[in-house]
């Protein structure tokens, strides 16, 4: 058991939640982007993106070492963003014939971003971030206390 592994676990939580916030920011910023990618000469609107969180892996060597050192084999590890997924939900249609991206019937395809969903996701990421900061501060104050032993 390394001294700073508690710090590292909380740090992975901070990194993952900051990544979530970045993705939410990108979704909100591109809520009206009608030209995100060019597919076969046709512009497609922005697709909503979301992160996929998984528990970060522990290497077999590390697991063996910890099972011998601490008499336990359950892996305790942090979190990581395994990939950023695109939402396959259909684009919303809006009637706006004056728009340069309107089709023959006057409809414009807008991104499948729901601002309410994004705000909820943003708040959830913020709260998780704060929880990880609290855990990190707790670890820090514990180790600061341990440094006072024998003074």
């Amino acid at each position: 058991m390394s001294l700073f592994s508690g710090f590292n676990i909380s740090a992975t939580g901070l990194t993952a939640n900051r990544m979530r916030m970045d993705v939410v920011s990108s979704n909100i910023a591109n809520a009206n982007t009608t030209r995100a990618q060019l597919v076969n000469g046709e512009w497609l609107p922005y697709r909503r993106k979301s992160v996929e969180l998984t528990q970060s892996g522990v290497s077999p060597f590390e697991r063996q070492l910890s099972s011998v050192m601490n008499h336990q084999s359950t892996n305790v590890s942090g979190v990581t963003v395994s990939k950023i997924k695109e939402d396959r939900a259909p684009f919303t249609l809006s009637y706006d014939p004056a728009n340069p991206d309107a089709d023959a019937n006057g409809y414009v395809r807008l991104p499948n971003v729901d601002p309410i969903k994004e705000m909820v996701d943003l708040m959830s990421a913020t709260r998780s971030y704060e929880a990880n900061v609290t855990a990190l501060n707790a670890s820090k104050s514990m180790f600061m206390k341990a440094l006072e032993i024998g003074k």
Partner: protein, 133 residues
Amino acid sequence: MKIFPQSIQTLEQALSTATLKQRVHAANIANVDTPNYKSKQVDFQSVLNSTMNNQAFSSFKTNAKHLSFSGESTQLHPSIKVNNSSQYSPNGNNVDMDYEMSNLAKNQLFYNAVTEGINGKFNNLRTVINGGR
């Protein structure tokens, strides 16, 4: 003659258990949004209770004058248990945030208390070494 009393070793064990608990709480909090993550808990109390009841680690004595092992009853190993019995959110995660945060605070206070205990022991020794001055 032993300078350092046995209780310092016991307190040290308590400190390392608290560190392990801290690590497990940190992992649970970090994985609060991970789908299908199951929360983990450090199970030290049951090991302690079974040891206290069974005396499983005691040496075998056939005579009252036989000596005990020097490290007897101090080798308690906490184990990590995975909680599979409950579900808190639809994505299969069962981390209870209120439980984790309150136990994190409790564990921190416990760690500080044990540190004070060790400091007290060392201060006693220091007083004796300095001849009460």
